[in-house]
């Protein structure tokens, strides 16, 4: 069966969404388990959540543009099925890490 390669922005930002979802989860693990990271994030903008948001949104935008411009989706042979899988997998992984971390391991 022929695989359809996505147009560059759909593939680029799809991959960016996956990467940013993972980054979002890893950042919360880092800041809530490592006081110096939390202190830096608070100092950077006045509130850790503002810094977190700026990094996540900027990473999504910049990586999406770069991945699209250099057509990395095409080079990585990201067909429609793979983008579909990356999308739900990225979201589910990010949500699961967040929920499990705060439910089981983190006590404020």
């Amino acid at each position: 069966m022929e695989k359809i390669i996505y147009e560059k922005y759909t593939a680029g930002f799809g991959l960016a969404l996956f990467l940013t979802g993972i980054l979002n989860a890893l950042m919360l693990l880092a800041k809530d388990t490592t006081p110096p990271v939390m202190a830096w994030m608070k100092a950077a903008t006045g509130h850790h959540w503002i810094t977190h948001g700026v990094i996540v949104i900027a990473f999504f935008g910049v990586s999406g543009i770069i991945l699209s411009k250099f057509k990395l989706g095409e080079k990585l042979k990201l067909d429609t099925d793979r983008i579909f899988t990356l999308t739900w997998a990225g979201v589910v992984t990010s949500v699961l890490i967040t929920v499990v971390f705060y439910a089981a391991f983190y006590r404020a």
Binding site: I4, Y6, E7, Y9, T10, F13, G14, L17, T20, G21, N24, A25, L28, G46, H47, W49, I50, H52, G53, V56, I57, F60, G64, T80, D81, I83, F84, T87, W88, V91, S94, V95, T98, V99, Y102, A103, Y106, R107, A108
Partner: protein
């Protein structure tokens, strides 16, 4: 009073974002020549409403939530903050990214002719609705934590 009302636009725009994501889901499932414009409008509206919800909610959270947090953590439902609010404030970013990606998918593909692209638009819409409803549930959890905190745990 005015300060307390500042949370209302966050809730309102969040709900509107969920509603327009449902709209986008329906348009994507029935994608064709006739509804191409409506699909684009629903996609861009979802992104705009989620951004407005983020900005209003973020302002309120950073400025006023500290007082509520102090009440919650001293009450019997301290996990409404340590679990509920922490999960909500971090998963919201994924929701915001999804709302932007929905517009990317809709505006750069012909969803009406490509079944796989249509499936992707449907998936993104469903994820937005699911996470959006999750945000509503977590907000209720936080509100319950505040109420019980003020009631002294009774």
């Amino acid at each position: 009073m005015f300060e307390q009302m500042l949370i209302m636009p966050h809730v309102l725009f969040g709900l509107l974002g969920i509603i327009t994501a449902v709209w986008a889901l329906v348009e994507a499932l029935n994608a064709g020549e006739a509804n191409r414009f409506r699909l684009k409008i629903s996609g861009i509206a979802t992104s705009v409403f989620m951004w407005l919800s983020y900005l209003f909610g973020g302002y309120w959270y950073v400025t006023y939530y500290k007082a509520d947090k102090a009440v919650i953590v001293k009450g019997p439902m301290s996990w409404a903050h340590t679990f509920g609010m922490e999960v909500k404030e971090h998963i919201f970013f994924v929701l915001l990214l999804l709302s932007m990606y929905l517009s990317v998918v809709i505006f750069n593909n012909d969803v009406s002719t490509d079944k796989k692209t249509r499936n992707l638009a449907v998936l993104v819409s469903v994820l937005i609705v699911t996470l959006g409803l999750g945000m509503e549930g977590l907000a209720d959890l936080v509100n319950a934590g505040i109420k019980l905190g003020f009631m002294g745990g009774k």
